[in-house]
Point group: C2
């Protein structure tokens, strides 16, 4: 949706010409977030001041390189105690954080599966150039396109080049495995990386016209013979460590810049 | 989750002992909502007063049987013009409406596929007794249960009996079709009806501890030989008409009662 730049250089009504001041970093898993919270020396605050009572969401805040930085995580499922992964909790958290904190930049950082056929290696950090869904099949004309829900990313060519990230398209689904139908849609989405939240975060960012940078660290290669779950669990802390390097680099880079500055003109 | 009633008759912290005053009815498709808006003579208001600017969400409000009633729909996709069906838009709309309007009862009304093996017929209106997901496969211990995300419904035995609704378990996924994997999960979820939003609305209602009644009108039989899409499109307006009868009956029934009154004691 949106995606094209208008003549003023703004993407889909996004305010890309104002200096970045407040950044919200959305992270689905606590194990992905905590190394970064420690690196940035952020402080967990009383979430009740920002979010309604009862929600399991966590917020860690501080000032980094002159920016107000908030890391938000959807927290633990109240009954089962595991991280609230997937599209619904992350979209709710992104929405609530955006409305309460009014960031002028969102970052979604997390782990992803990568396709070696597209050049992905374990440990790579990708910036998503496009978002789509691979598990929303609605075989009615136009609804079929809505289900895929392609959204072009906020353009950040300078940042990708200067910080030496890889770039590629991201496809999102609510399952860690991949069925034949998922695979078909992932191929149609031309995806290099696959995750469980990205397109939902992008949907909210796009709806509220907030620029978004999506950083995805590869924990497993989807198109090899090794089982996804084992690779994911084995490489999880390495990927979290890659993110705890990448996010501070991005924060340092965007400080003093506008979002429009992040893209080659 | 929650689900068990404590000794005070409250479900998972839900306020079931106060008289119902404000009701928010969440409906995914405009064609499902408009006959009901007309029947209830609700008025579309300026959504900007309740929701942030830029969102496509619609709200129709009025006083019915002494209740403040608001019908909310996620509206049309900005780029493609089709209804914003599926879990993410409906969970966001439910969350934003609940925070802004503070209802003490949520109703999710919509269409569903039904399983004839479980006794469902086209045109039946079901009240969901349990919610689960069938397209969130996470094959890691505990995360597997989180993916399914079973939530017991707010108990409404009296209402179901007195208004002669059918009752059954609801399974939700973001696709209109059904893959072999979906079918396996739907069977494991013991579902009688299948939709594209219910479990996500229930997730938000449960998180915010707001009682929820889910009314699902059957547009198509999933386990017969007729194609789902054709049946869905053919029976859509009949199902919308069934809902525009059922929802006013529910509003009339709950008026002057507490949510605890809706359940046989």
């Amino acid at each position: 949706m949106a995606g094209s730049e208008d003549m003023g250089g703004e993407k889909g009504g996004q305010h890309t010409s104002e200096a970045v001041k407040t950044v919200v970093v959305v992270i689905a898993m606590q194990a992905e977030a905590l190394p970064l919270v420690e690196t940035l020396q952020l402080v967990e605050d009383e979430q009740i001041s920002v979010f309604p009572s009862g929600v399991p969401w966590k917020k860690y805040s501080g000032e980094i390189d002159g920016l107000d930085v908030h890391i938000v995580v959807p927290g633990k499922d109240k009954t089962l105690g595991v991280d609230s992964v997937g599209t619904v909790p992350c979209s709710l958290l992104t929405y609530a954080s955006a409305v309460a904190l009014r960031p002028n930049l969102l970052i979604n950082a997390g782990t992803a599966g990568g396709f070696q056929a597209k050049g992905a290696n374990i440990g790579d950090v990708y910036v998503a150039t496009e978002f789509a869904n691979h598990d929303r099949r609605i075989p009615i004309p136009v609804f079929d396109k809505y289900g895929v829900g392609t959204i072009e990313a906020t353009p950040t060519g300078n940042l990708i080049r200067d910080l030496k990230f890889k770039e590629g398209k991201l496809s999102t689904g609510n399952s860690l495995d991949m069925t034949l139908q998922d695979e078909e849609y992932i191929k149609a989405n031309d995806a290099t990386v696959k995750d469980m939240e990205g397109a939902a975060v992008a949907y909210v960012a796009n709806m509220l016209a907030i620029p978004l940078i999506s950083l995805k660290a590869v924990t497993d290669i989807v198109d090899d013979s090794k089982p996804t779950v084992e690779e994911f669990l084995k490489n999880m802390s390495m990927a979290a460590s890659a993110l705890s390097n990448a996010v501070p680099l991005v924060l340092k880079y965007v400080s003093g810049k506008t979002v429009a500055d992040l893209h080659s003109s």
